[in-house]
Amino acid sequence: MKANHIFLDNVNLHYASVAFKERSLKSLLGGLLKRGRPSTEVQDVHALKDISLEIRAGERVGLLGHNGAGKSTFLKMVAGLYPISGGRRIVEGTVRSLFDLSLGFEPDATGRENILYRGLLLGLSPKFMRTIEDEIVEFAGLGEFIDYPIRTYSAGMQVRLAFAISTAVGGDVLLLDEVIGAGDANFMAKAKDRIAKLIEQSEILVLASHDFGALRSLCERGLVFDHGKLIYDGPIDETIDRYKVANGIAA
């Protein structure tokens, strides 16, 4: 078996502009009729520009960049959710990603049922989910609410449950997008331990965050994104300095 790694060669990614324009047959036909007349239109967004890099097994990589620089797009591209429009992308190993935690709950089903559902979504078997169910229930610490429908939960409780489920199973390649802030202070401490354990199990970590402390303690390599371009790739301390310079933050 090949070692887990991420290899990107001149990867480009465009968001199709049609996706955020009016999307009906009417507008398409209208566009055809008006062909002769030049009009101003929203162009495809070039979200990642010529990204080339390699991440090998054992590396811990932090992503830095201003909002909209392409960090999340980069993670979703690595996860295989977004198609690339040019270049080569090779990712070996099972990818586990923590992006938007509260997505995909069934509000009418109980917390316990949702544990199973979320596990199935991640491609796990019902048998395996039963073995880790108790541990998840225990970690979420929702007490008897675990047998209540999700729609009776507060936002914080939903996040706790989502976090407990999503972090119960690790993968070779772990992609995190600023999920560390979840729940109250008590839960935060538990959550940090759990993330640390998850990171330990994984072979590759890619973490997008604005928390310099977390980046320094977790990662040794850093990438700086700026308007879709990779402008720096190196040791994490220098990465943070470069990020501050690029964004005009006093060091």
Partner: protein
């Protein structure tokens, strides 16, 4: 992210034609796949569907639970509803066409439940990706599992409903019971393999053009009118419209059930040939559309 304003007149579905990308040197673009790679991609896709089996089976079962939640008769409704509808219709049509109600009613019932399966899978399936956007944005599964979910849900409802048909035929026409009924069982895989790719094609298109479900309702009504679903095929033949029967896949599909159950005969090889060609054509179409559309769906959600 920069949003550029450029003079452009044609809205294009394809990102591959964007001028910015044309500026990328040719050697950096994704090379067209070789036949070998294409075959691997198809295999990987199918195994992805298989690996996610727990997930789509679960989705489908929870759809069913949701459908019958808090209703007194629950799953029984899927039997009672078409049977009740058939009773009403056969009273009216039986009079109009001077047909024996006991014989004509199962004809209508068989047409109704299978037609209902196809239309609800196609219209429901066309919104399958939109409905599953939370899952699609989080996890990378083959998209066809979401239309498979719709197809499976409706197939289970169809199986329930066909119990009503079988019971009716056994009571009214018990002499038709025989080995040929085994052939009628083939209708389930056949009808599922027709509806699934059909729903998938529609879902790809409907994610981009949300007009599809509306247009679909019209299309199915037209198809219903020109097919021997409620109307006796003899009516079409006598009216000089045998084309609408002999070359109509809907007719041949229904014959797989009607020949054994209603007439005690084996379905003909022509019936099966029409079904097979329909399955192949729709699967090929789904593959062709999916080849380019599959990856782009996430942008439209």
């Amino acid at each position: 992210m920069k949003v550029k304003h450029v003079n452009r007149t044609q809205s294009n579905l394809s990102m591959a034609h964007s001028p910015e990308l044309d500026a990328v040197p040719a050697e950096l673009r994704v090379a067209p796949p070789s036949p070998q790679e294409r075959q691997n991609a198809v295999c990987a896709y199918l195994s992805g569907i298989w690996n996610a089996r727990y997930f789509w089976v679960h989705l489908s079962l929870s759809d069913l639970r949701y459908r019958w939640r808090r209703s007194f008769f629950g799953a029984l409704w899927s039997i009672m509803q078409p049977v009740g509808m058939t009773l009403l219709l056969s009273l009216v049509f039986g009079r109009i066409f001077n047909a024996d109600i006991a014989e004509y009613a199962p004809f209508i019932l068989s047409g109704m439940i299978f037609w209902e399966f196809i239309t609800s899978t196609a219209t429901g399936g066309s919104l399958a990706f939109v409905q599953a956007d939370a899952y699609i944005k989080q996890c990378h599964h083959p998209l066809a599992i979401y239309t498979l979910r719709t197809a499976l849900t409706n197939l289970l409802v169809l199986m329930m409903a066909s119990l009503g048909l079988v019971a009716w035929v056994l009571v009214v026409m018990p002499h038709h019971f025989g080995w040929q009924w085994l052939a009628a069982l083939l209708i389930y895989p056949i009808v599922a393999l027709i509806a699934w790719p059909l729903a998938t094609v529609l879902a790809y298109v409907a994610t981009r053009f949300r007009d599809v479900p509306h247009a679909l309702a019209l299309a199915f009504q037209t198809l219903w009118l020109v097919s021997p679903i409620y109307f006796d095929p003899a009516l079409f033949r006598n009216g000089g419209l045998h084309v609408l029967v002999d070359y109509n896949p809907v007719y041949h599909l229904l014959e797989v059930v009607r020949a054994p159950l209603l007439r005690g005969q084996w379905p003909t090889s022509t019936n099966f040939a029409y079904c097979a060609v329909t399955i192949l054509a729709l699967t090929l179409l789904a593959w062709l559309v999916g080849r380019t559309a599959e990856r782009r769906v996430i942008f439209y959600l």
